[in-house]
């Protein structure tokens, strides 16, 4: 998308005006600072997704669009999770974090803050695994996607 004020709200507005779902949305400038890259996760029948694609393409600020589902691709999401870490939980949380290849990025005598990346399913699994512990806060980035191999989304 054009890295311009209002571009994001055009996309968000389109989804609400036409009754489409946004499951997650991430956006940030790219190496070319005139462009932002957005990954948007939505659901719908093939017809609905086709219509969403066409409507998005009509937005003047959308430069190029790719339906990731059309080919092999990688999805990643990052999660920061703050949990209480006192007593026996302190060891258990660390162990779970290791199993999920998480990293503890902030520590106090009572708190761990863990960073985990992976697919949304993996992050869900981690949250589930942590159910027994005292989770204080969860922040998720939303999904980012990129195609595998030579295929790329470039202008």
């Amino acid at each position: 998308m054009e890295n311009e004020a209002g571009a994001l709200s055009r996309v968000a507005g389109l989804f609400s005006a036409r009754g489409y779902n946004i499951e997650s949305l991430t956006v940030a400038p790219t190496e070319d600072e005139s462009l932002s890259r957005m990954t948007l996760v939505t659901t719908g029948t093939d017809e609905v997704v086709e219509q969403i694609t066409k409507q998005l393409n009509k937005l003047i600020d959308v430069v190029k669009l790719m339906d990731m589902q059309e080919g092999p691709h990688i999805e990643r999401e990052m999660m920061l999770i703050k949990t209480r870490a006192i007593g026996p939980a302190r060891e258990e949380v660390k162990r779970l974090s290791d199993i999920f290849r998480g990293r503890i990025i902030d520590v106090t005598d009572k708190i761990y803050t863990i960073e985990v990346t992976g697919t949304s399913a993996k992050l869900n699994a981690f949250v589930e695994a942590m159910a027994e512990t005292d989770i204080i806060e969860v922040v998720r980035s939303g999904v980012m996607g990129i195609a595998r191999g030579e295929k790329s989304l470039r202008v």
Binding site: G6, R10, G13, E47, E50, Q51, K58, I60, V63
Partner: protein, 564 residues
């Protein structure tokens, strides 16, 4: 030499060839009005309400194919314009609307007459801009015109803060602009066109279904050539009237909710449907489950998002209608293609049987004025040559049914949004664009009161419009639905305390007439249309109980019409 933003604005409009600017001044646009005052290239038309400015520009655009241009102030100026912007958006009409904005330093501070114009208009524009730097102003204006008029046309809003129009910059108006994210299609895909032609030539029961896209893309002559060459029946949507001559034998009239029996039955029974610049609107398709059950569908449209949006199509062609039709004609010529004449003969025989039902018949011996009769007389007296604008409701449908448009750009109405109050200001725009032509506004006592203040504008600019007010003392279409679907509980559809329209017209300096007897309809119209330099407001007191027939009730199929 450096110019102020306001001067740049005026110069841009002049270079763009804008002759009329419809608007209303206010605090945030004072610098622009000051610049307009000091030039004579762009004529500013002062309306009485910003909604009317957008409708007038819209009427101008619909009748010329050129973009309509509007200038309003910030805050209420912008919000008043929104109805007109949305009207244009729904019918894909090219408008460029300039809204004043509070100075950049005050944006977001809840300043006097501040509103987030870009935010408010976002869902009903093709695109919009907030100009934050005077150095971007000229390019932004060029982009606005480019976007509004190319591809599927539509309104573009340019929001200009007051300090931007006061600041100075070098003036340069680019001859053309390109945008990497906006590249409208200019040609249809040859393979798809070939596929469509092959399908058309095998059709036994073909039907051409054409819409506003034909008119927007100026493709009337290609459409006529193609239709005559193939000998297929053709029906026009409300927006497409005039795209093909209504008096031609191949034309089955309008289709849809209040379309003709032959058009809707033709649609329902066809085996190949060729949709051209039409968008399968719910008022056309009726119940989508029952729509064209036996047809393979070809759809030509400039907007890919229109294709397979409501109805799945078999042969989509994305491209401008005029180009695609040209290509089709070339292909048919090249392959020496001939339609299935024997099958067509059988098909036409069936269609003529439907046509013989005479679905638009009405009581011609009534002692009350029948609205249909007024429209018939209007058609007769103007010899079908008038530009006709309409408001929204029963009168709109009767106008569409009874005024036979043989030429494009003559029928000006709010089809998609259905905006009451559209007719009179739209007629002003048409008259500005065509000062020598006859312009009639068909309206009702409900609609006309939504922009009645424009009678004042009409006096100021001496616009000799003819207002045909079909006065049935009811919000007729609402009443009709209440009669059919709400057991006659006429909630709020009776128009009480109406003004004396004759005196009202006179108080605005125009000619007022009231017509109450059927035998006076034609003489009165004749007299009115003889007054070439006066606005004549004709108040026809019509039969209150008249309904628009035929009708496809909501949720029914096209073959399930209510006839009289």
């Amino acid at each position: 030499m450096e110019l102020t933003g306001a001067e740049i604005f005026v110069r841009c409009l002049a270079e763009q060839g804008v002759e009329h600017l419809f608007g209303y001044p206010g605090g945030a646009v004072l610098p622009i009005y000051d610049a307009l005052y000091q030039q004579d290239k762009v004529q500013h038309v002062l309306v009485r309400h910003e909604q009317a400015a957008t409708h007038a520009a819209d009427g101008y655009a619909r009748s010329t194919g050129k973009p309509g241009v509007v200038l309003v102030t910030s805050g209420p100026g912008a919000t008043n314009a929104v109805t007109g912007i949305a009207t244009a958006y729904m019918d894909s009409i090219p408008l460029v609307v300039f809204t004043g904005q509070v100075p950049t330093a005050l944006i977001g501070n809840d300043a006097f007459q501040e509103v987030d114009s870009v935010g408010i208009t976002r869902p009903c524009v093709k695109h919009n801009f907030l100009v934050k730097d005077v150095r971007d102003l000229a390019t932004t204006i060029k982009k606005a015109f480019y976007i509004a008029t190319t591809g599927r046309p539509g309104p573009v809003v340019v929001d200009i803060p007051k300090d931007v129009s006061a600041a100075k910059a070098e003036f340069h108006y680019p001859k053309r602009v390109t945008m990497r994210s906006y590249n409208p299609v200019t040609k249809g895909h040859p393979r798809q066109i070939r596929k469509a032609v092959d399908l058309m030539l095998t059709a036994k029961r073909p039907m051409l279904y054409t819409g506003g896209g034909v008119i927007l893309s100026n493709a009337s002559s290609q459409l006529v050539q193609l239709t005559r060459l193939l000998g297929f029946p053709i029906t026009n949507t409300l927006m497409g009237l005039g795209g093909y001559p209504a008096t031609d034998r191949q034309c089955l009239g309008m289709l849809g909710m209040h379309g003709t029996y032959e058009a809707n039955m033709g649609m329902h029974n066809c085996d190949v449907l060729i949709a051209i610049g039409a968008r399968f609107d719910d008022r056309v398709t009726g119940n989508i489950e029952k729509f064209c059950p036996t047809a393979q569908i070809i759809h030509i449209d400039i907007d890919p998002a229109s294709i397979s949006k409501n109805v799945k199509v078999d042969v989509p062609i994305v491209g401008p209608v005029d180009q695609v039709l040209k290509e089709m004609l070339a292909v048919i010529k090249e392959i020496k293609g001939k339609p299935d004449a024997a099958a067509l003969q059988v098909w036409w025989k069936q269609i003529e049987e439907w046509r013989a039902m005479d679905c638009l018949k009405f009581d011609r011996d009534s002692e009350l004025i029948k609205p249909q009769a007024v429209l018939e007389s209007l058609y007769k007296i103007t010899r079908g040559n008038a530009y006709v604008t309409s408001d929204v409701g029963q009168h709109q449908m009767w106008a569409a049914q009874f005024y036979k448009f043989d030429k494009p750009n003559r029928w000006i109405n709010s089809g998609g949004l259905g905006t009451m109050g559209f007719g009179l200001p739209a007629a002003m725009g048409v008259q500005f664009a065509h000062p020598k032509e006859t312009v009639a506004c068909v309206t009702g006592e409900g609609s006309i009161q939504m922009c009645i203040q424009e009678l004042s504008t009409c006096l100021q600019y001496k616009l000799p419009l003819k207002v045909i007010n079909l006065n049935n003392r009811y919000l007729g279409m609402v009443r009709q639905w209440q009669q059919f679907f709400y057991d006659g509980r006429y909630a709020m559809s009776y128009m009480e305390s109406l003004p004396d329209f004759v005196k009202l017209a006179e108080s605005y300096g125009h000619v007022g007439m009231q017509i109450t007897r059927p035998e006076d309809v034609e003489p009165a119209l004749k007299e009115a249309f003889k007054m070439k330099d006066r606005l004549v407001f004709m108040d026809f007191i019509t039969d209150q109980s008249e309904n628009v027939y035929p009708m496809i009730p909501a949720g029914a199929g096209q073959n399930e019409m209510i006839l009289v």
